[in-house]
C-alpha cells in the first residue's frame, strides 16, 4: 500500500468522561485531609509518623505483591495509599511502628492482593487490618490507655468507653459542638466530626462515593440510637452522641463506601447502610465491643454479594444481531 496513513482502531465509545481510579483515590485523600490535619495538629509528630509510615508501608506492600504476582505495578492508582491512609486514621497516635507495618500487611496483602487486587476484595482492607489488631492486641486500640500521656483542655476519656462503663450521665460533658470540633480522644483521623462531614459531603457531591450508603448508614445509626435512648435515657446515650463519636463518621463516608465490598444497586445500598447502622448501635449498646462500626461494616461486607442480587428487572428486549 503506497499510503501508510493508518488510524487507530478501537471500539465505541470514542469519548470518556475523564474519570479514573487514580483521580478517585486522590479525591478521597483530599477529602480526608481536614480530619487528618486536625489529628496531626492535636497529637503532633507521633500522629504524623503513624500516618506517613502507614501510607508508605501500604504502598510498599502493594509493590511487593505486584512483583511477586507478576502484575503491572499498580501503586500509581493510589488505592494502596488510600488504604494506608484510612488505616492510619483509625489508629491512636501512639501506635507502635511494628503494629503499623503488620496492619498494612494485613490490609494490603491479606485484605486485598490475595483476592486478586483492586476490585476483588470482598471485605474492606483497612477494616480487616483494624479488626485483626483489635482482636490480637486489644489494649493497643483502647484509646484511654493509648492516649494517657496526652493532656488537652477537654475530657480525655474515650466517649464510647465511658458510656459503656458508666451510662449516659458519664458523657454529659461532651458537647455536640465540642465533638464536631474534635474535642474527644480517638483515632488520628476520626475525631474531627466537622472535617469528616465536609470531606464526606465533598465525596458524595462529586460522586466518588455512593451517597445512598453513607446517608442510610447515618440515618439508621440515628434512629436505632434514638430508640435505645427513648427506652432508657439513663443507660443509653442520645443519637447525636452516637453519630459524632467513635468511627461513625469515618465509617459512613470512608469505610462503608469502599467500592469493592459494598453494593451498587439502589435498594441494596440502602439496606446495606441501614443494616450496618443498626448493627453498629447494637454492638455498642449491648455487644461486647466498645465501638461497633468495624464489625458492623465487615459483617455487611460479607452479606454484600447476597444483598446486591436485589436489583431491578432489565429492559425487556435484546437487539437482534445476525
Amino acid at each position: 500500500m503506497p499510503d501508510q496513513k493508518l488510524f487507530i482502531g478501537s471500539h465505541a465509545p470514542y469519548w470518556h468522561n475523564g474519570s479514573s481510579i487514580s483521580a478517585k483515590s486522590y479525591h478521597t485523600m483530599l477529602a480526608a485531609l481536614p480530619a487528618v490535619v486536625l489529628g496531626i495538629w492535636q497529637y503532633g509528630a507521633p500522629a504524623l509518623g503513624v500516618l506517613a509510615l502507614s501510607v508508605s508501608c501500604a504502598m510498599i506492600w502493594e509493590l511487593i505483591m505486584n512483583i511477586a504476582m507478576k502484575r503491572p505495578a499498580s501503586i500509581g492508582d493510589g488505592n494502596a495509599a488510600v488504604i494506608g491512609l484510612l488505616f492510619a486514621m483509625l489508629l491512636p497516635a501512639t501506635t507502635p511502628w511494628w503494629a503499623v507495618v503488620a496492619g498494612t500487611f494485613v490490609a494490603v496483602v491479606i485484605g486485598k492482593q490475595i483476592f486478586g487486587g483492586i476490585g476483588c476484595n470482598p471485605l474492606n482492607p483497612a477494616l480487616v487490618a483494624i479488626a485483626i489488631l483489635m482482636l490480637s492486641w486489644k489494649s493497643m486500640l483502647d484509646f484511654n490507655s493509648a492516649l494517657v500521656n496526652y493532656e488537652f483542655s477537654f475530657n480525655m476519656v474515650y466517649p464510647l468507653a465511658a458510656i459503656k462503663g458508666f451510662g449516659a450521665s458519664a458523657v454529659s460533658d461532651y458537647s455536640t459542638a465540642g465533638l464536631l470540633m474534635g474535642q474527644q480522644p480517638g483515632g488520628i483521623g476520626t475525631t474531627f466530626g466537622l472535617g469528616l462531614i465536609i470531606g464526606g459531603l465533598y465525596l458524595m457531591l462529586r460522586g466518588h462515593i455512593r451517597w445512598e450508603i453513607s446517608l442510610s448508614f447515618l440515618a439508621s445509626v440515628f434512629v436505632t440510637a434514638l430508640l435505645f435512648n427513648l427506652s432508657d435515657p439513663d443507660k443509653y446515650a442520645n443519637p447525636v452522641f452516637h453519630l459524632l463519636t467513635g468511627y461513625t463518621l469515618i465509617g459512613a463516608f470512608f469505610l462503608a463506601t469502599e467500592d469493592s465490598s459494598s453494593p451498587v444497586n439502589f435498594v441494596p445500598m440502602l439496606l446495606y447502610g441501614a443494616l450496618a447502622g443498626i448493627l453498629t448501635v447494637l454492638i455498642r449498646n449491648i455487644g461486647a465491643f466498645v465501638d461497633g462500626v468495624v464489625f458492623a461494616i465487615l459483617m455487611m461486607n460479607v452479606a454484600n454479594p447476597l444483598l446486591d442480587k436485589i436489583r431491578p428487572k432489565a429492559m425487556g428486549k435484546g437487539i437482534k444481531h445476525a
Binding site: K5, P13, G316
Partner: protein, 428 residues
C-alpha cells in the same frame, strides 16, 4: 469531549450541543470522486459465478446484485466501470463484497426505475428502494405480513453531535410530507409518528405525522428509549420490532423515498454530519460510496497517522483503519478524533464503583456482567446478567472509572452468544 460534571450524583446527561451558527444550514457538496466503493452483504464469500465482473459498465441508479437469486442489492451512485470486486470483513465479522467503480466523465442514468415505477407501490419499492440513503429499516417496514400499527420516523439523530436527520426535518419539510403520504398509502400503517427535538416541533407538525418531542439528551435518542417513551413499551426479547408491530425509519430515508417518485430517480447521495477534531460540525452531501478521504478533503479537514476516524458518532460509531473506505447508505456521520484525544482502554479490572450501573438505561448489572464476560462466560452472561437487554448505548464504557472497554466486551459477548446458539440449533 463531554467531561464528568463537577457535581455528579445521578446518571450522566449528555446534552446535544446546540449549534446556532449560520454554518449549520450550509450543506457542502463533495464532487463525484474518481472511485467509489460499495459494500454488498455476502455471507457466502463467493468469488465465482457472479453477475457482475471487473470491466462492466455501470450507470448511475443501476441495481447491482451478485447473483440472480440474491435478495440483497446495492444501487450504484455513479456511472463508470467496475474496477474490482474483493472481499471485506466488517464489524462483528460480517462479510461483504466490496465493489469498486472507477467513475466516468459523463453521468448517465439507468432508466429502469423511471420506466417501471410511475407511482409508489409496495412491489416497486421493494424492488428498487432497498438501500435508500439514510435507510436503516425501510425493507423490514415494507416486508411484513400484517400491516404495522405504528411507524416512527426519526427526526432526531441517535448519536451525540450528529444532526443529519434533524437538518432534514428542518430543510425538507415538504418532501417529508409527501414521503409520509406515500408511506401511509403503501404500508397501510395505522399511525405515523415523527420524533423531533423541541425546536422543530411546530415545523414537524406540517408533515401530517403525529409529532413526538424528544429532549435531545443522550441516551433518550436511542430507538429503544424512544419506543419506550412514546409508546410505553419495549418489544419482548425474542421478537423484532416489526413483529411487535412497530417500524422505525430515518427522516432522510422518507425524504429519499418521496424524491425517488417525484423526480423519477433513485436518490444516490447521502447527507452527513462531519464532526471535526474540535467538535465543530459541518454538513456535507456526497454520493454513497465516496471514500472518507474525499469528504475530508472537501472540508479541509486534515488527519494524520495515528488519529482516529469513525463512521458514526462518538458513542456508537465504528472506527476505520484507513481513509480509503467508503461511506455507506446508512452512514449518518464521520468523526475525526485527534490522536491526543483517543481514549485508550485499560486492562485493569472492575473496581465495582457502580458508575456503569447508574448510567445504564437498560438497568443491566454491568459490574457483574463485565466480570462474566471477561471470563468468556457468554451463556451465563445472557442468562443471568441480561446481556441481551443491552441497547448498545456505550454509556457504561464512557463512565467506567477503570476505563474498561465494556461496550466492546458486550458486543463480543453478543456475537459469541449468537454463535453458540446457532451451533446448538444446528446440532439439535
Amino acid at each position: 469531549m463531554i467531561k464528568r460534571p463537577f457535581f455528579s450524583l445521578g446518571k450522566p446527561k449528555l446534552k446535544y450541543p446546540v449549534n446556532d451558527t449560520e454554518e449549520q444550514d450550509v450543506i457542502r457538496v463533495t464532487p463525484i470522486p474518481g472511485r467509489v466503493t460499495f459494500f454488498l452483504e455476502d455471507p457466502y464469500e463467493r468469488n465465482e459465478g457472479l453477475l457482475i465482473k471487473p470491466g462492466d459498465k455501470i450507470k448511475t441508479g443501476q441495481k447491482l446484485k451478485l447473483t440472480e437469486d440474491d435478495k440483497d442489492y446495492v444501487i450504484s451512485s455513479v456511472t463508470g466501470t467496475i474496477a474490482g470486486i474483493s472481499q471485506y470483513k466488517g464489524y462483528l465479522g460480517k462479510t461483504y463484497a466490496a465493489i469498486s467503480i472507477d467513475t466516468a466523465d459523463e453521468e448517465q442514468w439507468d432508466d429502469k426505475f423511471k420506466e417501471g415505477c410511475q407511482k409508489p407501490t409496495l412491489e416497486n419499492s421493494l424492488e428498487f428502494l432497498g438501500c435508500l440513503p439514510g435507510d436503516t429499516g425501510f425493507i423490514p417496514i415494507l416486508d411484513t405480513h400484517s400491516p404495522l400499527n405504528t411507524i416512527i420516523i426519526n427526526g432526531v439523530d441517535k448519536d451525540i453531535l450528529v444532526s443529519t436527520n434533524r437538518l432534514i426535518v428542518q430543510t425538507e419539510t415538504d418532501n417529508l410530507k409527501t414521503g409520509i403520504e406515500y408511506l401511509r398509502e403503501i404500508t397501510g400503517a395505522g399511525e405515523i409518528m415523527i420524533t423531533v427535538p423541541p425546536e422543530l416541533a411546530s415545523q414537524a407538525g406540517e408533515t401530517g405525522a403525529d409529532v413526538k418531542v424528544i429532549e435531545p439528551i443522550y441516551p433518550n435518542t436511542l430507538p429503544e428509549i424512544i419506543m419506550k417513551s412514546i409508546l410505553g413499551k419495549t418489544p419482548p426479547a425474542d421478537k423484532t420490532w416489526e413483529e411487535a408491530g412497530v417500524g422505525l425509519i430515518n427522516a432522510e430515508a422518507v425524504v429519499a423515498f418521496s424524491n425517488a417518485f417525484t423526480k423519477g430517480q433513485i436518490p444516490v447521495s447521502k447527507l452527513l454530519t462531519v464532526i471535526n477534531k474540535d467538535h465543530t460540525t459541518v454538513h456535507v452531501r456526497a454520493r454513497v460510496g465516496t471514500h472518507v478521504k474525499e469528504i475530508l478533503a472537501t472540508l479541509d479537514i486534515e488527519t494524520h497517522h495515528g488519529d482516529q476516524l469513525v463512521l458514526g458518532g462518538p458513542m456508537t460509531g465504528h472506527a476505520l483503519y484507513s481513509e480509503d473506505l467508503p461511506i455507506l447508505s446508512d452512514t449518518d456521520a464521520i468523526m475525526a478524533n485527534d490522536k491526543d484525544n483517543v481514549v485508550f482502554p485499560s486492562d485493569c479490572h472492575c473496581i465495582n464503583c457502580g458508575e456503569c450501573v447508574r448510567a445504564c438505561p437498560a438497568r443491566i448489572p454491568v459490574n457483574m456482567l463485565i466480570r462474566v464476560l471477561e471470563n468468556d462466560l457468554y451463556e451465563e452472561a445472557a442468562r443471568e446478567y441480561d446481556l441481551l437487554s443491552c441497547i448498545e448505548c456505550g454509556l457504561c464504557s464512557y463512565v467506567c472509572t477503570a476505563r474498561i472497554p465494556i461496550f466492546h466486551y458486550i458486543m463480543l459477548g453478543k456475537y459469541e452468544f449468537a454463535r453458540i446458539e446457532t451451533a446448538e440449533e444446528s446440532n439439535a
